[in-house]
């Protein structure tokens, strides 16, 4: 990470740490999205929503490493909203369909797509509008279509509940875009998801480490017991070895590397959730305590943008 990237991370962290994201997330889950949208506008001011958008559409043309940094922070603070869709997938998908960049001319519906780009990308870059989409079969539902644009068409139909109450899922009715197997936009979604999962996992580890030092049982902090230490040491190991895969995948953008990153980050986040809940005890099993916000978001993202099984299979086929 270069000094500018360190600075970017630290600005995002400062903003989110000062924003009381847990309250914003609970309001978002209850249907009051305004505080969350205000926070997204602040994230846009720091450039988050413009990362994957070229300069000609008012974007930052940032690297995938910048994207990973942003998503780690979004995960770390359990930010609600269609982040992967708005910041990574939709812009990248629009761009990949432009006639000059499309790998397959058949999918480049030139006039449609060019107008899509000029119509939407500047609005995404500025943070004026968030975006979402469904990508069946991997993402059968659109996230938060009630507050986000659907540039690839369709109308949100029946809503369904997610395990993460901040994710408002809807069926998308009528004709809708279906992406290809090795689509770059899909991979960027998987990479962003992997980064978000490592951030979620890190936050759950941090919360757990803090909690076991203050919770006293048998006359000592429970963090002194080896059984507790070893749970948390394993979480630290899993995160330490997932993160380099996420960053090296951002460098190479090779599908096999992104698959490896997604599998490792999912496993690390899952372990952080399970072990974190265990060392907290019943307090973390409540909605009132913040840990639950991270736990259910991780659970929702584990199968998102390619299940672990799908990514393992793709990886082996590519070797």
């Amino acid at each position: 990470m270069n000094p500018e990237q360190e600075q970017f991370r630290s600005s995002l962290h400062s903003l989110l740490a000062a924003s009381d994201v847990p309250s914003i997330a609970r309001a978002w889950a209850a249907g009051s999205c305004e505080p969350g949208l205000a926070m997204w506008r602040k994230l846009a001011d720091l450039g988050v929503t413009a990362l994957a958008i070229p300069a000609e559409y008012d974007g930052l043309e940032a690297t995938a490493t910048d994207l990973v940094i942003a998503f780690e922070e979004l995960g770390h603070h359990a930010v609600p909203g269609p982040a992967i869709e708005s910041v990574a997938v939709v812009p990248s998908l629009i761009l990949s369909r432009l006639p000059e960049t499309a790998a397959d001319p058949a999918v480049a519906r030139a006039s449609d797509v060019a107008s899509l780009a000029s119509q939407w990308l500047p609005r995404f870059a500025s943070g004026e509008t968030l975006a979402t989409l469904a990508w069946p079969p991997h993402q059968p539902f659109a996230v938060d279509a009630h507050i986000a644009a659907l540039p690839f068409g369709g109308t949100p139909g029946e809503t369904v509940a997610s395990v993460d109450p901040t994710r408002h899922l809807s069926h998308i009715e009528s004709e809708h875009f279906i992406g290809g197997r090795n689509d770059r936009a899909f991979d960027l979604g998987a990479l962003a998801c992997a980064a978000q999962l490592t951030g979620l996992g890190q936050a759950m580890l941090d919360l757990s480490v803090a909690y076991v030092q203050q919770r006293v049982q048998f006359g000592q902090p429970v963090g002194k017991f080896q059984a507790v230490k070893h749970h948390l040491a394993d979480v630290r190991i899993a995160l330490d070895f997932a993160r380099p895969l996420v960053y090296s995948a951002a460098e190479s953008l090779a599908p096999q590397d992104i698959s490896a990153a997604k599998v490792a980050a999912s496993a690390a986040a899952q372990l952080a959730a399970r072990s974190g809940l265990q060392v907290h005890g019943a307090i973390a099993y409540t909605r009132e305590y913040d840990f639950s916000l991270w736990l259910v978001k991780a659970r929702a993202l584990l199968p998102a943008w390619g299940t672990a099984s799908w990514h393992r299979n793709r990886l082996l086929e590519s070797l």
């Binding site: 080896q226 040491a233 190991i237 330490d240 599998v263 490792a264 082996l316």
Partner: protein, 394 residues
């Protein structure tokens, strides 16, 4: 005993020169241009295959001969200064050498205790005279080194060491018993900690001593695999000259902890070893019909081997920027030791009923089982991670 015969390297033979992808990665990481190709060409021409185990008398000699060939090609210890037989290569070049070495399925390094554990300690704490006297023989495998740490009553609790170093004129005499001493059955020399005073940590002195001298009795111990990979060492008045104390007397614990982080970390188990094994596992799985029930485990082995590799690249970048190897090496030790077992257990499951037959995977499996015990048990490492990386109370 019959060996199951199959070509575990099928489909994994590297091309004669680095692929475009490898060359790009090497350039990005600052690997010396042409180095990978040179190593690959040398190993493909010279590396012997199927040597008897280095823990047999015959195999030990043949492994030493192979190390001499490496030394003559200045490949025995590429990161060392040229005056000791190295080529002043960067850590990244050394990792590249290791990748090629394991991909070529070249013999296990008989000199590894000296090369990977003692040498880093000597570079950090030894005198110029010690370096000049010990390193060239170590690199040529004229001297094979054994470790002498554990004792019957000092395992995980290493500071409980009782074997004594007593000051005499011009040096020290050693009394006591060491055990689980790797390579001691066929080694020439040993290094380890001895008690020179009563203070638990500050009473330990780090010495190097000849195994072939009066007052030393080595009793080989047969391991799980039937070979004598380690031994007991009985000491009854063996002599160590003052010149063979590393650092000052009483500083041994501090110095040894530095060695321990090398042992746990990249110098003992470079990622090339696991990346090459993961590739062989995938080839084996395909050869045996690509059982979908084992697919996820096979993929996870590859993913973890690459995670260890990328993590190591990150560590090297940190070291190059002036950082040092600290408690993070405990996380690496747990990770690689569990990965090694997973690689071999998965391979044995791929082999199915024929996995019972002694073969390279059963050999590797039995070897891997020791990994969670030596170099500090994984339980001790998890305590270190929890206390020193996470800050939990002791």
């Amino acid at each position: 005993m019959d060996r199951l015969s199959y070509d575990a390297a099928a489909g994994t033979t590297p091309s004669a020169t680095a692929s475009a992808g490898e060359a790009r990665g090497d350039a990005a990481r600052g690997v010396t241009p042409g180095f990978r190709d040179e190593v690959r060409a040398f190993l493909s021409e010279h590396a012997p295959h199927g040597l008897p185990s280095l823990d047999t008398a015959e195999g030990n000699l043949l492994h030493r001969e192979w190390e001499r060939q490496l030394y003559d090609a200045r490949l025995a210890a590429v990161s060392w200064p040229a005056e000791f037989g190295g080529r002043d290569a960067s850590l990244m070049d050394w990792l590249t050498f290791e990748e090629e070495y394991w991909a070529a399925d070249a013999p296990i390094r008989v000199g590894q205790n000296g090369l990977f554990l003692l040498a880093p300690t000597l570079f950090a704490h030894g005198t110029a005279e010690q370096l000049a006297r010990h390193l060239p023989g170590m690199a040529r495998a004229d001297d094979v080194w054994a470790q002498a740490w554990s004792e019957p009553e000092a395992g995980s609790d290493l500071a409980a060491i009782r074997s004594a170093a007593t000051k005499v004129d011009g040096g020290w005499t050693l009394h006591g018993q060491k055990t689980w001493s790797s390579r001691a059955a066929f080694a020439d020399k040993a290094f380890g900690l001895f008690r020179s005073s009563g203070e638990r940590h500050r009473g330990l002195t780090y010495v190097m001593f000849e195994l072939r001298q009066p007052g030393v009795t080595v009793r080989p111990i047969e391991q799980l695999n039937g070979e004598t990979g380690f031994a007991e060492i009985f000491l009854d008045g063996a002599f160590v000259a003052d010149e063979d104390v590393i650092g000052e007397p009483g500083e041994g614990w501090k110095i040894a902890m530095g060695t321990a982080s090398h042992e746990r970390g990249l110098s003992l188990r470079s990622p090339g070893r696991f990346v090459a094994t993961a590739r062989r596992l995938i080839a084996l799985w395909r050869e045996h019909g690509s059982d979908p029930l084992l697919r996820d485990r096979v993929a996870d082995c590859w993913i973890k081997a690459h995670a260890y590799q990328q993590h190591t690249f990150q560590t090297v970048a940190r070291l190059n920027a002036g950082g040092h190897l600290g408690a993070e090496s405990s996380a690496g030790k747990v990770f690689w030791s569990e990965l090694d077992i997973a690689l071999h257990e998965t391979a044995l499951d791929v082999l199915g009923p024929s996995a019972e037959l002694a073969n390279r995977w059963t050999d590797g499996y039995l070897f891997s089982l020791a990994g969670t015990i030596y170099a500090g048990t994984n339980e001790v490492q998890r305590n270190v991670i929890a206390e020193r990386l996470l800050g939990l109370p002791r």
